[in-house]
């Protein structure tokens, strides 16, 4: 089957295709620039540093962050979350999170817990919904951080980050948001939502390449407390063997992914040129079509809120009587529909949804999917479901 005939519904794992400008920017970086950003003083090194800086500006603008120098690039959102969690929390601190988190949050928290950090996991409903009052009730005098997934990678449910941000701000507790599933696809204003540290990945709905991500630090974050998680060369203050304190260098030791960041900058500028609201409207329409189509099939169970307005364009389901892995394989082989099955690195979320350990089939819709593709995917699921329940 020609790749263009495939129906790619795995955008929640990584988006594909990308805007053509992304590959063009990466090719330009490799062929015309090439040099190491910030490591030398010649024209190509400085041009590479300009491209990286302009990507910081684009990311800051996307998230309404006031200072591009507080955009710290990492290889992915997992590294960004590790920086925020390991960098901020100390033994004796208390941290609050939800029952819908990805292992990118839960594994660092469990490791910290083993070193004396107290962890509270606030339960969510079976649709993955979180009551902000439960977060408020979980706070303690020593709560040092609240960390929340903006949207579930399993079933798309949006968590109430704005309400939780207000609660955290009233108590003066820094608020970390994992925006892996929403950056670029959902309007995100760090200042309006009260987000102090926003962790993003570049390669999902921000439409950049894999190997890009970062942590955006709001103006209120005490960077003296936030400890770097790796030390080394920064191209600055080379006479000293102590890690520099200037941002972003403090958190960016080692040669950066200049080619990837060039692509990310182009991707974010593309997203903003389209308009996040426009992208969101398109994905809401596709998501509702998918939900309506799947909910109408006998023998199919759909997870999450069943309401496109309350979730990202990620829809998870099961065909009763067929394992998710069989469904995924047959969708790929027989219909050219590519999706992700299983537990999606999020056992806590699956326990909340009641889908642990069996897992689900996940359709992750993206900006380049069409209504025709959604209809074809629904028809494929319907045909498989009829085999189980003729």
């Amino acid at each position: 089957m020609n790749p263009t005939d495939l129906i790619y519904l795995d955008n929640a794992a990584t988006s594909w295709p990308k805007p053509p400008e992304v590959a063009q920017a990466m090719l330009h970086s490799m062929q015309q620039v090439g040099a190491n950003p910030g490591r030398s003083g010649h024209r190509l090194s400085i041009e590479a540093a300009r491209i990286v800086y302009e990507a910081r500006e684009a990311v800051a603008a996307l998230f309404h962050a006031p200072d591009p120098l507080r955009v710290v690039f990492t290889a992915n959102v997992t590294q960004a979350l590790n920086l925020a969690l390991h960098g901020w929390l100390r033994p004796g601190d208390h941290v609050v999170t939800s029952g819908m988190e990805h292992n990118a949050v839960m594994r660092p928290l469990r490791a910290l817990e083993a070193n004396g950090v107290q962890v509270s996991v606030v339960p969510c409903s079976a649709q993955g919904l979180l009551d902000p009052a439960d977060v408020q009730a979980a706070l303690r005098p020593n709560t040092a951080l609240v960390v929340l997934n903006h949207a579930s990678n399993v079933c798309g449910t949006l968590l109430p980050v704005g309400e939780v941000g207000q609660i955290a701000r009233r108590r003066g507790i820094p608020f970390v948001v994992d925006a892996a599933q929403t950056g670029g696809a959902f309007p995100l204003d760090m200042q309006a939502l009260g987000i102090d540290m926003l962790a993003f990945t570049g390669h999902k709905s921000m439409l950049g390449p894999m190997g890009t991500g970062g942590l955006v630090l709001g103006p209120g974050v005490d960077v003296e407390r936030l400890a770097p998680q790796w030390q080394g060369g920064t191209g600055s203050r080379s006479e000293s063997e102590k890690q520099p304190i200037a941002l972003p260098d403090k958190y960016e030791s080692g040669t950066s992914n200049a080619v990837g960041i060039a692509g990310l900058g182009a991707a974010v500028r593309w997203v903003m040129a389209q308009g996040v609201d426009t992208i969101r409207a398109h994905e809401v329409a596709l998501c509702q079509q998918m939900l309506d189509g799947l909910l109408a099939i006998s023998g199919v169970q759909v997870y999450g809120p069943h309401d496109a307005a309350r979730q990202t364009a990620t829809v998870s389901f099961n065909i009763i009587g067929m394992t998710p892995s069989d469904v995924g394989l047959r969708l790929d082989d027989e219909y050219g529909v590519l999706c992700r099955v299983g537990l999606h690195c999020a056992p806590a979320a699956h326990r909340t949804l009641g889908t642990f350990p069996g897992g689900v089939v996940r359709f992750g819709l993206g900006v380049f999917n069409t209504s025709e593709q959604v209809a074809a995917a629904v028809a494929a699921v319907s045909a498989l479901a009829r085999e189980v329940r003729p």
């Binding site: 950003p37 910030g38 030398s40 003083g41 010649h42 400085i46 540093a49 300009r50 990286v52 800086y53 910081r56 200072d67 591009p68 120098l69 920064t234 191209g235 600055s236 203050r237 080379s238 006479e239 520099p244 304190i245 200037a246 941002l247 972003p248 260098d249």
Partner: protein
């Protein structure tokens, strides 16, 4: 006779890029160059401007929110 220059020393290449953008926007000629060895042991880059623009350049850098780590005249 060659022009007389001054340099603004900064803590990070990212800071130099930010200053460069602010100066370009204001129409002030500048160039990022390796930090002259006699001025600092830092091996990074600094922002070179004409001496007559140096006061304006420092003001623009401060307005852009960048801390200037040092200012030197180039002889």
């Amino acid at each position: 006779m060659s022009a007389a220059y001054a340099v603004l020393l900064v803590d990070s290449t990212s800071h130099a890029i930010r200053i460069e953008k602010a100066l370009v926007r204001a129409g002030i000629a500048c160039r990022l160059i390796p930090v002259p060895r006699q001025l600092s042991s830092d091996c990074g880059v600094c922002v070179r401007v004409r001496q007559e623009d140096s006061a304006a350049a420092q003001e623009l850098a401060a307005a852009a929110g960048v801390k200037i780590a040092g200012f030197r005249l180039l002889s």
